[in-house]
């Protein structure tokens, strides 16, 4: 069976600094993958290259057989990229909810404007997605009234409303107060149990161990080591992986 996502030779440079030095991996439908690694290792950049929020310098990305970001040998504009981006739900470290819209509107607006649902259909969809993240009770609130954990759960609902083929999580709990991390991880756990395809950049090693099918350890812009989550986290082979995991446990 073809992989849902395939990434080959992905490179990204900012000026003279090469942040990604050739990344290759595949993701099967339903697979949960955790990207771990020290800050500056390129894991967030890697994730952001997948939906072209960062434009890769080289390499190919295919989602469901479709080449992302390049058409007829030419790089697509942001306008041309829009339908491809809609196939991937993205959750940001800083939530990035839109403060001028209500919680429900945050979740519903793309369904209307991108997928062409009617106002009522979009509203129903939004409430359904909010139920999934246990946020129905704040449907009419402004994002500004919510705690960080609640905001992030709404942001997850917003991404789910895209009916994406793939969910991208960019350090979803890194900006949260420690006591709010759990509620977000719990929601993500429930999504994982539904069999969604998820790519998660995270520092939550225990979470990665329990949730992910596979863990990739990035350092210095390359995948140093990857493998089944438990194996990699409990008995890493590479010295750099061992050092990183040791550091993070203390």
């Amino acid at each position: 069976m073809n992989p849902l996502l395939s990434v080959t030779g992905l490179r990204k440079s900012y000026g003279l600094v090469e942040v990604l030095k050739g990344i290759d991996f595949e993701v099967a439908a339903g697979e949960k993958i955790a990207l771990i690694g020290p800050s500056g290792s390129g894991k967030s950049t890697c994730l952001r290259c997948l939906n072209f929020l960062e434009k890769p310098s080289a390499g190919e990305i295919h989602l469901d057989g479709e080449r992302i970001g390049v058409s007829l040998g030419r790089q697509m504009s942001d306008r041309q990229l829009a339908p491809q981006r809609a196939e991937m739900g993205m959750v940001f470290q800083l939530f990035n909810l839109w403060p001028h819209l209500s919680v429900t509107e945050n979740v519903a607006i793309a369904a209307r404007k991108v997928r062409g649902l009617s106002a009522r259909e979009a509203q129903e969809l939004a409430l359904e997605m909010l139920a999934k993240v246990h946020m129905t009770h704040r449907a009419d609130a402004s994002p500004l009234e919510l705690s960080g954990g609640q905001q992030q759960r709404v942001a997850i609902a917003r991404a789910l409303a895209q009916k994406p083929k793939l969910m991208l999580f960019d350090e979803p709990t890194s900006a949260l107060d420690p006591e709010l991390v759990h509620e977000v991880l719990k929601v993500m756990e429930e999504l994982a149990a539904e069999g969604r395809t998820m790519l998660i950049v995270t520092h939550e090693i225990a979470f990665a161990r329990d949730i992910a099918d596979r863990v990739m350890f990035l350092d210095g812009g390359t995948i140093v080591e990857q493998g089944p989550a438990r194996d990699l986290i409990l008995s890493p082979r590479e010295a750099r992986t061992q050092a990183f995991l040791k550091q993070i446990r203390h």
């Binding site: 939906n51 929020l53 942001d78 306008r79 990229l81 829009a82 339908p83 981006r85 809609a86 196939e87 991937m88 739900g89 993205m90 940001f92 800083l94 990035n96 909810l97 839109w98 403060p99 001028h100 607006i109 793309a110 404007k113 991108v114 997928r115 942001a155 917003r158 991404a159 895209q162």
Partner: protein, 219 residues
């Protein structure tokens, strides 16, 4: 005192329609010019942030030139100067354009400040859900910018309204020019210019109140 008040009773019936008509002209002039300056100003602000160096330089030069030139000079240039090279406007159009060009520079600075206040992640999240750049701007970024700058925008409108009086000098029959004609006819400049001033105040006052209400609370 009664000498002062009396003319209002005596001529009020004649003055009122003249002043109301002139108020209409002033209001139409100001609103048209402001609407146009919003469009110009937004375009200027966007060009300033555009990747093209030439465009952003053009905006910088435009803003500094327009801010350094008196509005009256701009109006004279448009109305009396441009016919010299075969471009003519009627007075009202000339005044609308002159006011719009001049105030676009201020509006552009407001938009620019507002745009800078919106975190980058707002647009990224919009692109990520599948919005086009145009949708991201109109649905997500611009509404937030407008909320931030609405109060100073209204203040700018009020100062445009007052500066629209300069249009009298290129023969637009707005409040001041009407007032001058009335003052000549009735020989009652004190009463008439006072009435003209009140007319401006009546238009501007609600906007001043509005801007104070919409200004973000401090502290």
């Amino acid at each position: 005192m009664s000498d002062f008040i009396e003319p209002y009773f005596e001529y009020g019936k004649e003055w009122l329609p003249l002043l109301v008509k002139a108020m209409g002209t002033t209001a139409l002039l100001s609103v048209s010019a402001f609407a146009l300056s919003l469009v110009f100003g937004l375009l200027l602000a966007l060009c300033r942030n555009a990747p093209s160096r030439a465009l952003s330089h053009f905006v910088t030069v435009y803003v500094s030139v327009v801010r350094g030139v008196p509005l009256l000079a701009i109006l004279f240039l448009l109305y009396f100067g441009l016919p010299g090279i075969g471009i003519t406007f009627d007075a009202f159009t000339g005044a609308v354009l002159g006011l719009a060009f001049a105030f676009a520079a201020q509006v552009a600075e407001l938009f620019r400040a507002g745009l800078m206040a919106i975190p980058k992640g707002q647009r990224e999240a919009a692109l990520a859900v599948g919005f086009t750049p145009f949708q991201s701007f109109t649905l997500i970024v611009l509404p937030q910018v407008v909320r931030i700058i609405i109060a100073p925008l209204i203040v700018t409108f009020v100062s445009l309204l007052k500066d629209s009086s300069l249009a009298s000098l290129i023969t637009v029959n707005e409040l001041v020019l009407t007032g001058r004609a009335m003052a000549t006819e009735y020989f009652l400049p004190l009463q008439i210019y006072l009435a003209v001033g009140l007319c401006y105040f009546f238009i501007a006052w609600p906007f001043s109140l509005l801007s104070r209400r919409l200004a973000p609370a401090v502290g």
